[in-house]
Amino acid sequence: MHCPEQTRSSPRSERPKSARFLCPPTRATSGPKSWSEGSAVRPGCLLPGSVGQVVEVHKALTQQDFKARVCRFYFQGFGQIGRGHKITSYPFSPRKSGRKDMAQSQGWVRRYFKAFCKGFFVAVPVAVTFLDRVACVARVEGASMQPSLNPGGSQSSDVVLLNHWKVRNFEVQRGDIVSLVSPKNPEQKIIKRVIALEGDIVKTMGHKNRYVKVPRGHIWVEGDHHGHSFDSNSFGPVSLGLLHAHATHILWPPERWQKLESLLPPERLPVHREEE
């Protein structure tokens, strides 16, 4: 391990004020005898082979802190050399008021970025999976389910809790209020009540056929406000694959907190039920 010989070619003002050197001076050099003086390391020069060879520290540092600072210093140094810059910071520079260690401020940014990435990749998939598979919340618009939902019309719209978990096996009962993808417009979801399951014969209101037998894998849905509802009376039985969620509770406004009952109005009972 040799140090480059001290040169006097660089003007004194260029040399850092109180630099420490990172390798022991060889006996041949006629440099200063005392460590504390130190020989000025020329800016821009990285001393090979002197990694971690600090001879003297002026401040008592813990071993971990010392290693971290030396590593950061060399990391920066290599990076700066690659970009053609001069090394302008040293691991044991004296603390001046207001002057933060560049290594420490960069480390803070990197730590923050790493924590953000970790949190992002954990939180977003879990949240998305929860909202897709377990439960979510939705606002109801329109008057097709009055008086059960939105009785106030356009003044206040209800917010309901949609439970995906209950319909994960496509099991619904007659009278449930369910949300499904609209068969006429796939970008929209509609919320209706299940009137009949597969195999039942339904007496329709406004459909082109008077009596309809619900095919296998389909359900018949209707809104509670007959005549103001775009439901199976318009588009026929819907496939169970379009089922989205089961609306179980009203969450807002607070005076309408309730559990939604799955009861079927008696005049809408199917004409013939298919009992399993």
Binding site: P125, V126, T129, R133, F170, P186, G217, S239, G241
Partner: protein
């Protein structure tokens, strides 16, 4: 006197038992159980996290699917492995001629794999080519008309009618097994089924 004495001793033994049990539990807790419980919770946490990432990938990006059945020959044979992507479904970019995976309209737990012949509003030749009188029908709004490539051996929209767009799960665009057939899927071999719209 006898009873109260008996009661007192019973209570005393109960207290002693509780104390020893409590001490035993505490020692166990401090030494082994905490490590094991900690590891178990961490494992459960990682499983939930990776399960959610997998679900999001299959739901929103795509996945690998194995197709079975003869209804899409010669494009896709029985037990072929293909790539399916779900981005087209979410951005409503399914075109005519795409091979799609959809939920079966009569059984929501099983999937079908067919080719899109007509989108909403298209005029479809709904009678088979052997009939003398050709009949057309229009695909309703929000529905698609699916047909398999193997027309003799496929139950598709000619049997159960057009299906809603909301049942489509993804689009198949690349075959990865068998290796002799590696690559993008071929076009519709039954080109004459398209009616001009």
């Amino acid at each position: 006197m006898f009873f109260s004495g008996g009661l007192a001793t019973t209570l005393q033994t109960e207290c002693i038992l509780e104390q020893t049990y409590g001490q035993w539990w505490q020692t166990l807790h401090r030494t082994m159980l905490r490590g094991v419980l900690g590891k178990t919770f961490r494992l459960i946490g990682y499983t939930i996290q990776y399960g959610c990432i997998v679900h999001c990938t299959f739901e929103y990006v795509g996945g690998v699917v194995m197709c079975s059945g003869p209804s899409m020959e010669p494009t896709i044979q029985n037990s072929d492995i293909v790539f399916a992507e779900n981005l087209s479904r979410h951005f409503y970019g399914i075109q005519r001629g795409d091979v799609v995976i959809a939920k079966s309209p009569s059984d929501p737990k099983s999937n079908i794999c067919k080719r899109v012949i007509g989108l909403e509003g298209d005029k479809i030749l709904s009678s088979s080519s052997s009939d003398f009188f050709k009949s057309h029908s229009y695909v309703p709004m929000g529905h698609v008309w699916l047909e398999g490539d193997n027309l003799q051996n496929s139950t598709d929209s000619r049997y159960y009618g057009p299906i809603p767009y909301g049942l489509i799960r993804g689009r198949i665009f690349f075959k990865i097994w068998p290796l002799s057939d590696f690559g993008f899927l071929r076009d519709n071999p039954n080109g004459h089924r398209f009616s001009d719209d």
